[in-house]
Symmetry: C2
Subunit: 349 residues, 2 copies
């Protein structure tokens, strides 16, 4: 006897990304603003001035990747229960990637799911974390190992919140934008090559093109069964760099920049791009103040750490490499020696 459970799919999880001045937001429900002390100090007043709701509760969580764990999720959940939030209530993620990841994850779990919206305050979260619905936390086994796919109801990207960023934080966001250009769009790469991000119009163009490109990829492959893996360009190497430097020395975008340069070295060896193209990408990364050269102290040890990454399936590692500037290829089951030869180019002599 077999009974088929056919669940209809009428629930739509599409959502808009609104780029520009934050509009007045009016909600006839309870709202919690999850943020960190830095963002609260700089911008909470501005947000509160634009927000109307039945009740508003700021929930301040500590800043930093090292607080992105289950204990902080429980802290947020407890506050929501204390304020008697129900399934119709709303969370607002007001901060960078850490705040966004944890707010989205909490929203997925609270009473089996409540709505959330994102108002990113870093360039990295504006161009990258605000699209895609990946939420999650770290544990002792690694980064983002526990989480869910949970889409926000809307994303508001207001460049005035980005105006207080340090230049190093801005550059970290540009690394992810350049990643999109190298993988998907040569014209966008060339725009970035000459972009002046102190000009608000150019910054808006940078953000909107990056969001559009990522939206197309995620729409094709929400759960990362295929092309979405291309977004990991530079990241396979970056995760090892971050691990070796205890997540302290480099911002995520900085590690990605150095990882892109490593992936390009592999691509050159595979015949996927010319040495000139690789050098051009490196120059543009450097132009925005990003580090490009990570020194590999021990090639074998660096290689072994690929296998700690959750994106490995069985014993095979997928490498994402450019196919020229503006194209991409996913290479699986590549010979160990080819990878190590590319790593050796970054080794201390």
């Amino acid at each position: 006897l077999k009974i088929d459970i056919n669940l209809n799919k009428t629930v739509d999880n599409s959502y808009p990304v609104i780029i520009g001045d934050l509009p007045q937001l009016v909600f006839n429900k309870k709202v919690a603003i999850v943020t960190n002390p830095t963002v609260a100090g700089l911008h909470l007043g501005t947000l509160l001035g634009k927000l109307t709701a039945t009740e508003i509760y700021p929930i301040i969580i500590p800043d930093g990747e090292e607080h992105k764990h289950l204990g902080t999720i429980e802290y947020i959940l407890d506050r929501l229960f204390e304020h008697r939030f129900d399934r119709s209530s709303l969370l607002i993620a007001f901060g960078g990637g850490v705040v966004g990841d944890m707010t989205g994850f909490t929203a997925a779990l609270y009473e089996r799911g409540i709505d959330f919206i994102q108002i990113p305050t870093t360039l990295l979260s504006a161009v990258d974390a605000s699209v895609g619905g990946k939420t999650g936390i770290n544990n002792r086994f690694g980064k983002n190992l526990i989480g869910s796919f949970n889409q926000p109801k809307a994303v508001y990207i207001d460049p005035s919140f980005l105006a207080t960023l340090k230049s190093r934080e801005l550059s970290a966001g540009i690394a992810e934008a350049l990643k999109m250009g190298v993988m998907f769009d040569r014209e966008y790469f060339e725009f970035l090559q000459n972009a002046d991000i102190s000009d608000t119009q150019e910054l808006l163009k940078l953000i909107s093109r990056s969001v559009s490109l990522k939206a197309e990829v995620v729409a094709l492959d929400e759960k990362e069964h295929g092309v979405r893996a291309v977004l990991n360009y530079g990241h396979t190497f970056a995760h090892v760099i971050e691990n070796e430097t205890n997540y302290k020395k480099y911002l995520h975008g900085e590690a990605v920049a150095m990882g892109m340069v490593m992936a390009n070295a592999l691509a050159v060896n595979l015949g996927n791009m010319s040495a000139d193209e690789a050098a051009l990408v490196e120059r543009v990364l450097a132009k925005f103040g990003l580090p490009t050269r990570y020194v590999v102290k021990d090639v074998d040890a660096f290689y072994d750490k690929f296998f700690l990454d959750k994106k490995t399936e069985g014993a095979k590692i997928k490498f994402i490499v450019p196919d020229g500037i503006g194209g991409h290829e996913i290479v699986s089951g590549i010979d160990e020696n080819i990878v190590k030869a590319a790593l050796a180019e970054f080794a201390t002599k």
Copy 2:
């Protein structure tokens, strides 16, 4: 500037429920069997005899609702990380509702979601918890307050695993089956009225009809925005009964049976069913050895506890009452005195 993120919905979360002898199960992947010591002692050998996989890991969690908390979820997650499960691995929930809820929740969180299947070993989980995809845990604020909607890939209901159940546990499952009859299907209620569940054929019919009815409801309303709330018939009262008796005195199905009798008293007062029909439902519940009369010591205190239930929205409580036997009505915003008058019928004189 507004960019719409349109996520396609090609991922299908429909699944089969297979009722009858457990077939040979062959998986070319790592499998973890989440179960409790009682079920492991009685049936793990049988399951292992039918299961082939790359690697098989039993994960034994303590039995009982009081262990359905985040700490146990972390325990299961840690075992999966230690065994280097990846996104292609599989979890099997082998037990009753507690095992099913926690396995499904863990599967939702592990690397943002891995597959799980359910093999229920109690009648309650076979007829109720195996369909619907509600997973979750308790915390100090209440039951099932943290969780997710996560559908299994398949459910296997083998009556031989139910043969070792105590009669009290069987009865608890029948309460949920009777709930489905009273709410949706008079003919099914009449079948149950005369059913002999020691007969395997009648037990199979009981299970399959209950599963089919629940499947229809869940297909209409997976996320409980409408008709799915009808499945809470008896439960609004049962949650208070369980709270007042510290979740120890009664099995969940027993509390539901008493809650159904209370909801029926309310329905009689509202003119939704006759006193004869209410008496008939109570007799059938009693025939299966279920308790039907909970003594309300303090009507006001009992009433106030409705508001601790997460299913309340704002200050309104939804009551689910029969509309005759085989019909249902969701009553919202009902006058406090009408509810208290019904509760008073169960008060100590």
